[in-house]
């Protein structure tokens, strides 16, 4: 079973309101600094990019380095003018992109 990304943001907001968004992704964020029991370096494998879009427009983007801790946590803000969908994307070094979505009603 793969653990699911956690998202926390309001389901509703007023037009022009600045909302807070929190995300947590299960991921080892292998830094490339660790060595296995035989002394060989464990290859780097991290989420190198996090993107939050709202109705297709970028709201917050983070380029991540191995210094970001495992299970990357991101907290940021967004100002909402209309109802729509937040889309979150996490890009792994291996090219796989994990995504999640959440809708919001703006009145």
């Amino acid at each position: 079973m793969a653990e699911k990304p956690r998202l926390k943001l309001p389901k509703e907001a007023k037009k022009g309101e600045i909302i807070e968004i929190k995300t947590l992704l299960p991921h080892i964020m292998e830094s490339g600094q660790r060595k296995d029991k035989d002394g060989k370096p464990i290859p780097r494998k991290i989420i190198n990019k996090f993107v939050c879009e709202f109705n297709g427009k970028a709201v917050f983007v983070a380029s991540l380095e191995p210094a970001i801790a495992a299970n990357p946590y991101m907290q940021f803000h967004a100002t909402v003018e209309e109802s729509g969908t937040f889309k979150f994307s996490w890009t792994d070094d291996d090219g796989v992109i994990i995504t999640a979505e959440e809708t919001i009603t703006v009145t």
Binding site: E3, R6, K8, T23, L24, P26, K37, N71
Partner: protein, 423 residues
């Protein structure tokens, strides 16, 4: 105890017996649950045999010294060693040795020692030695205090650095030479470095917030395991189809004396033996499944005050044994639980705060941020042991059961809040 046999070999026999307890419908199964004591697999061990230390843990063999299951430590000397000539040593080397964390934690774990280790976050379990050089102590006293302080104080917390083989005589001479240079108060780079001024840590994290605590993923995992059918076509859900209601207080009544096994059973061992005897699931202690289920069963009882049986004769005897075990000196560092969590509670051991037993049990199993893993209380016991250079016992050792019961009794009334989140 038969070595090498795991519960798996008993699966068929116990499953036939367990299945006989069940009636065809879920209703009947629930009725059985209400009436009978929980089925337990009583044969075999609840963790891997032979027990192998976890990967990545220090691989030292400490069989020369006491464990919680075995007495082996050589007796303490009764007399100090005679030092007839003034000690000469290399003070600079001694300063380095005092700060060397590879030799069992370094002196700075417990002592402020002037400039040693850059006065970087020293502890204050023991006296500040920054002015010991002008305290009028004889060389013989300084030497023997490091070599084996038990000759001056049989109840000392000070490890026997010489007689237990941490430092050679020459190295102790070097440290004595260094101590003799310490004649002025330590100068700290920041106030945080001074253990007398450092504010004790306060745990403020929202441990039950799934975004704050990765340990909460264990709850999700356990909920999936709950309905997962094993080869027997039963799952936990077959008999316990409303865990929220059924287990609202159960974990707060654990651990408990189990007469069928003649030992104290904690939640984790209960999970292993009960699952084996019912659904047939093979959830040995210290597997991911077992830890997830332990998190979940505690989580379901969150906010319930811990309230265990302390009055029945076997519980009383177990608590008495647990108390004695908490006072037993173990390992090459020759320390007892009470050395840190009794005598030295509310002090700094290097940069970490030593807490009293009360408040140190209610959040287990806990997420550990330094290790990115959920730990249950038995693994925590094992880690403490390995770090004071004592061999750990298997997680289902009866001694750990006694110790856990004693620890739980010291946490009477504390409300469960699981999974915790700690360093």
């Amino acid at each position: 105890m038969k070595r090498g046999r795991t519960l798996a070999r008993r699966a068929v026999v116990s499953l036939i017996g367990a299945t006989a307890l069940f009636v065809a419908t879920g209703q009947g199964a629930k009725a059985q649950v209400a009436k009978k004591e929980p089925p337990l697999e009583v044969k075999g061990d609840a963790s891997e045999r032979p027990w192998k230390r976890y990967a990545g843990w220090p691989a030292r063999d400490e069989s020369k010294y006491n464990t919680l299951g075995n007495l082996a430590t050589p007796p303490a000397p009764t007399q100090p060693r005679k030092i007839t000539k003034p000690i000469t040593g290399n003070a600079e080397k001694g300063a380095g040795l005092a700060a060397d964390r590879d030799r069992g934690g370094s002196c700075l774990a417990c002592h402020v020692m002037g400039p040693a280790g850059g006065a970087n976050l020293p502890g204050n379990v023991a006296p500040d030695l920054s002015e010991i050089g002008s305290a009028g102590r004889e060389d013989e006293w300084l030497f023997n205090y490091i070599y084996d302080a038990r000759v001056y104080n049989p109840e000392t917390v000070m490890p026997p650095w010489g007689s237990h083989g941490f430092f050679s005589d020459q190295e102790i001479n070097d440290m004595v030479a260094f101590l003799k240079t310490l004649k002025s108060k330590a100068v700290f780079k920041t106030e945080l470095d001074d253990p007398e001024k450092r504010p004790p840590p306060v745990e403020k994290r929202e441990n039950l917030d799934p975004i704050e605590n990765p340990g909460m993923w264990a709850v999700d995992k356990a909920q999936e395991l709950w309905t997962q059918k094993s080869a027997t076509a039963f799952s936990c859900n077959t008999c316990h189809n409303d865990p929220k209601a059924s287990f609202k207080t159960w974990a707060a009544s654990m651990p408990k004396w189990e007469p069928r096994l003649d030992k104290v059973l904690g939640v984790e061992e209960f999970i292993t033996r009960h699952a084996k005897a019912t659904t047939g699931a093979d959830w040995l202690m210290e597997t991911d499944e077992n830890r997830a289920m332990s998190v979940y069963l505690h989580y379901l009882a969150n906010d319930t005050p811990i309230h265990i049986d302390t009055s029945s004769p076997p519980a009383k005897a177990a608590i008495e044994r647990g108390k004695e075990l908490s006072q037993r000196k173990v390992g090459q560092l020759n320390m007892a639980c009470t050395d840190c969590h009794g005598k030295s509670a509310n002090h700094w051991i290097r940069g970490q705060w030593l807490a009293e037993p009360k408040g140190q049990y209610d959040h287990f199993p806990t997420w550990r941020t330094s290790l990115l893993a959920v730990w249950d209380i038995r693994q925590r016991f094992q880690w403490c042991q390995v770090n004071i250079r004592a061999d750990e016992l298997p997680p289902d050792a009866k001694e750990y059961g006694d110790l856990e019961l004693y620890l739980a009794s010291q946490n009477e009334g504390q409300k469960l809040s699981v999974p915790g989140i700690r360093h």
